[in-house]
C-alpha cells in the first residue's frame, strides 16, 4: 500500500476488511452500530518510522453480553480465537471492560500490528 494522504484510513479499513471476512465474527467499525456479541475495531495507534512507512496498531475489542460469567468468558475466547486463526498479526489478548456510551461490556482487547508502507 502506498502511503498517500489516505494511508491511515486505508490501513485501518484494510484491517476491518480482513476481520469482516472471518466467518462467525460480526465486526463493527462504528460504535453506534454495536450489537454484541461482536468485534469492534477501535481507533488505531500509528507510529511513524518515516514519512512513508509507519506501524499501525489496531485494538479490536471482542464484546460480550451480560455479566462476565463463565458462559460470557467462553464466548469471548471463542470469538478471540477466530481472530487468531485468521493470522492477521495478532500480538496480544487481554481481558478488559469496554465502555460504549455509559454502558460497560465485558470484553477482550486484541492488539493487531501492521506495517504500512509504499
Amino acid at each position: 500500500m502506498t502511503a498517500t494522504v489516505n494511508a491511515f484510513t486505508l490501513g485501518y479499513d484494510n484491517v476491518v476488511d480482513k476481520l469482516q471476512t472471518i466467518t462467525g465474527l460480526t465486526v463493527f467499525d462504528d460504535p453506534r452500530n454495536l450489537n454484541p456479541p461482536c468485534a469492534f475495531v477501535d481507533a488505531p495507534v500509528i507510529r511513524m518510522n518515516s514519512n512513508l512507512v509507519f506501524d499501525m496498531t489496531v485494538t479490536v475489542r471482542i464484546i460480550g453480553t451480560g455479566p462476565a460469567d463463565y458462559k460470557c468468558l467462553t464466548k469471548l475466547l471463542e470469538l478471540a480465537d477466530l481472530v487468531r486463526r485468521a493470522q492477521i498479526g495478532l500480538t496480544d489478548v487481554r481481558p478488559a471492560v469496554t465502555t460504549i456510551g455509559a454502558q460497560e461490556y465485558a470484553s477482550y482487547e486484541l492488539t493487531i500490528g501492521a506495517k504500512i508502507g509504499p
Binding site: P37, G66, P67, A68, K71, L76, A96, V97, E104, Y105
Partner: protein, 210 residues
C-alpha cells in the same frame, strides 16, 4: 398453589357459594378445586366473589344479593344440585396456578447459549423459568389483568418480559447485589438492573382499583 379452609356452604338456584376461613386470592373466572365437601367436590370456574348473602337469581338470570348481610371471603360457582340453606361446612378450596408462558428453550435463546441437561445449571434454569412464569402471571393479576390462559402467553411483550426475568434469575446465581463476574471483566452490573424494562413489558405495576 394455595389451599383455603371452607367454613360455610350454600346452594341457591343451581349456584353454590362457599365461604373460606381466611381472605383468599381467588378471582372471578379462575378455576378452583373443591375437595372434602361431599356434593361440591370437583373443579369449578368461579362466577363471582360476592361480599353479601346470595339470595338466588332473578328472571333474567342475574345474581341477587342481600346487601344488608355482609359475608366476607365467598366464592360462587355454578353447581346443579338441590338448594341448600347456608350452613357450616368443612373442606378445602385449592387454587393452583401452573403458568407455562415461556419455556427453557425461549430463555436459552435469550441467554445465547444452551444449558447441558442434566446438570445443576439446568435444574436452576428450570426453577428460574417456573419462577418467572409464576411471577409474571401473579404480577399481572395483581395489576388487574385477567389472563385467561395459563398455557398461552397473552402477548409478545409479556412473553419477552417473562423471558428476560427468567434469564436474569438464572444469571443471578451466587450474586447478592451485583452479578458475579471474572474480575478483569467485571462491569459492576447490579442484579435487577433490567427490572424496569421487564415490568414495562409485563404491564405492571399499573394503578388498579378494586
Amino acid at each position: 398453589m394455595a389451599t383455603y379452609t371452607i367454613v360455610n356452604k350454600q346452594v341457591q338456584d343451581n349456584y353454590a357459594v362457599l365461604q373460606t376461613l381466611t381472605a383468599n386470592e381467588i378471582v372471578t373466572g379462575q378455576s378452583v378445586t373443591v375437595s372434602g365437601l361431599a356434593g361440591f367436590n370437583g373443579t369449578h370456574v368461579v362466577v363471582d366473589c360476592p361480599q353479601f348473602l346470595f339470595t338466588g337469581i332473578d328472571t333474567a338470570g342475574d345474581l341477587q344479593y342481600n346487601t344488608s348481610v355482609l359475608i366476607p371471603n365467598q366464592v360462587l360457582f355454578a353447581l346443579t344440585t338441590d338448594d341448600l340453606d347456608r350452613t357450616a361446612a368443612a373442606g378445602t378450596i385449592t387454587y393452583t396456578l401452573t403458568c407455562t408462558w415461556v419455556t427453557i428453550a425461549d430463555v436459552e435463546d435469550w441467554l445465547g447459549f444452551t444449558v447441558t441437561n442434566p446438570s445443576s445449571d439446568y435444574d436452576l434454569l428450570t426453577i428460574a423459568v417456573a419462577a418467572a412464569n409464576a411471577y409474571a402471571y401473579r404480577k399481572r393479576q395483581e395489576a388487574g389483568y385477567f389472563d385467561a390462559s395459563l398455557g398461552t402467553v397473552p402477548s409478545q411483550d409479556v412473553r419477552l418480559g417473562t423471558i428476560m426475568y427468567a434469564g436474569a434469575l438464572y444469571r443471578e446465581r451466587g450474586s447478592i447485589d451485583q452479578y458475579a463476574s471474572f474480575d478483569p471483566l467485571a462491569t459492576g452490573t447490579p442484579t435487577g438492573g433490567s427490572m424496569g424494562q421487564i415490568m414495562r413489558l409485563l404491564g405492571v405495576n399499573r394503578a388498579a382499583v378494586y
